[in-house]
């Protein structure tokens, strides 16, 4: 009985922790299936820098970063530097950007997505734990499992070429082990279709 109570209390605190994605604090745990049906957990990547990228291939802001090749290039560059890149779809069934796992794998390939995994967060649990607001919305978790970036991919939806590269500057700093200049900023995009 006692152990049940303990488990319940731990569960309740776990829930609270899961809702507190905050810069400088441990990143919320997650456990989601990738497009091949394998379970991917935060704890699988201990000691690695992790990028979370919220996606909706139907969203015009996301389209721009894929059709220009910007996001595939970032994914390729940074996974080449031992960064774990997770693309997450939190679109609910029937909404824009939702595909079943097989179709999502196909679309990701068409879009030349080079992420380590694409996670199927169809029920929105992971999105809500991180408070993912829009697509694209970017997060960075450092080697110690601490959330160190929550914000936009860049400063200007109109012109990525001249925009301030908020996200990649932050990621370079995290890899170099230096402080992130602008760890929390407002991301632009389409609301996540929970």
């Amino acid at each position: 009985m006692k152990s049940i109570i303990h488990a319940t209390i731990a569960g309740a605190f776990g829930l609270i922790a899961a809702h507190a994605a905050e810069i400088g604090k441990p990143a919320p745990e997650f456990s989601e299936k990738n497009t091949s049906g394998e379970t991917v957990n935060l704890t699988d990547f201990k000691g690695k820098v992790i990028v979370l990228e919220w996606v909706n291939y139907g969203c015009p802001f996301v389209k721009k970063h894929y059709s220009s090749g910007n996001l595939p290039k970032l994914q390729e560059t940074y996974t080449g530097k031992d960064v774990v890149w997770l693309t997450i779809s939190s679109a609910a069934e029937g909404k824009q950007g939702y595909y079943d796992a097989a179709k999502m794998a196909e679309v990701s390939k068409e879009q030349k997505n080079k992420a380590s995994h694409t996670l199927m967060d169809t029920d929105g649990t992971m999105g809500k734990a991180y408070d993912a607001k829009v697509t694209p919305h970017m997060f960075i978790i450092n080697k110690d499992g601490v959330l160190v970036y929550d914000g936009a991919i860049d400063s200007d939806p109109k012109d990525p070429a001249t925009a301030d590269k908020l996200f990649s500057n932050a990621l370079d700093a995290v890899i170099a082990g230096t402080a992130v200049q602008n760890p929390k900023n407002k991301p632009y995009g389409c609301g996540v279709k929970y």
């Binding site: 969203c59 015009p60 909404k95 824009q96 607001k133 407002k186 632009y188 389409c190 609301g191």
Partner: protein, 277 residues
């Protein structure tokens, strides 16, 4: 009733089939007169008709989305083009909110013809917007133009529509009221004081933040009169993105409870605050 529903269903189906990337809205440009005298001003409005169930965005779009914007292509000598945005509505979903419009929206805009204006002039514009509903977002863009002939104004049937629309856009009242902002750790205390004794009662007590990233768009901003004082006050949360100290805030304020202003004195107003030094 049945046939009405059927017609509506048909309409929806047709919309879905033919309107893949049109941004779920149509845009046109109306003018109070097809003519304008040299050196005189001309009142016009950009009209946006949004598909049922979809919304487009205000100057501050809220947590997501994109401001509706316009780029002018004016013949030389024509001045103007400050697009006036009507007061938005708030569409919330969970803890997020969009600030924008549904249905038919009119954006008034006034131009002045050049002093040497003769013949005809074609004013052009490109309107860009994003339309979203709970399930999707679709961008839209439209090229529109109007032709204006030199000559004495002759009011068109659209003049009344434009005049009504102007009555629903915020009036700058910074010469009558002073907005003050006191920043606290997690909240902001907003105060409005009348600047002279002739100022009427403030009926526009419901506010929207035109400046982004100061107040979260989900927060309702409602001013209440401070008892025994000639001022109104509202305490609101601070945006999670307001990391540095807040430097400026522009609010638009409306009389609560109504779509269209009941009287001219109930027209929406705008007030701005800028941190001194």
């Amino acid at each position: 009733m049945m046939s009405c529903l059927r017609f509506f269903a048909l309409f929806l189906t047709m919309g879905a089939a033919s309107a893949a990337e049109n941004g779920r809205a149509r845009v046109d440009w109306i003018s109070e007169s097809p003519t304008c005298e040299a050196g005189k001003s001309l009142r016009t409005a950009i009209r946006m008709v949004i598909d049922p169930g979809w919304h487009t965005y205000w100057i501050n779009p809220g947590d997501a989305g994109m401001k509706t914007s316009i780029e002018w292509k004016l013949p030389s000598g024509w001045v103007g083009g400050a697009l006036e945005y009507p007061v938005p509505e708030r569409y919330s979903s969970g803890e997020m909110a969009a600030l924008g419009y549904k249905g038919t929206v009119l954006f008034p805009v006034t131009f002045t013809a050049p002093p040497e204006f003769s013949g005809t002039a074609r004013l052009g514009a490109t309107v860009s917007w994003l339309a979203c509903n709970d399930g999707a977002c679709i961008p839209g863009e439209a090229e529109i133009s109007i032709e204006i002939q030199a000559g004495p104004a002759s009011l068109s049937s659209d003049a009344g529509i434009i005049s009504d629309a102007r009555g629903k856009t915020p009036l700058d009242r910074n010469s009558d009221f002073k907005l003050e902002v006191a920043e606290q750790a997690k909240s902001l205390v907003l105060k409005i004081h009348p600047l002279h004794s002739a100022v009427p009662e403030l009926v526009q007590t419901l506010a929207f933040p035109a400046s982004p990233d100061v107040i979260p768009p989900i927060a309702e901003i409602r001013f209440v009169r401070v008892p025994d004082a000639d001022s109104w006050e509202a305490t609101v949360p601070k945006s999670e993105y307001a990391t540095e100290s807040i430097r400026e805030l522009q609010l638009v304020l409306v009389a609560p409870g109504s779509g269209a202003p009941a009287k001219a004195t109930h027209q929406p107003i705008s007030l701005a605050w800028r941190k001194s030094h």
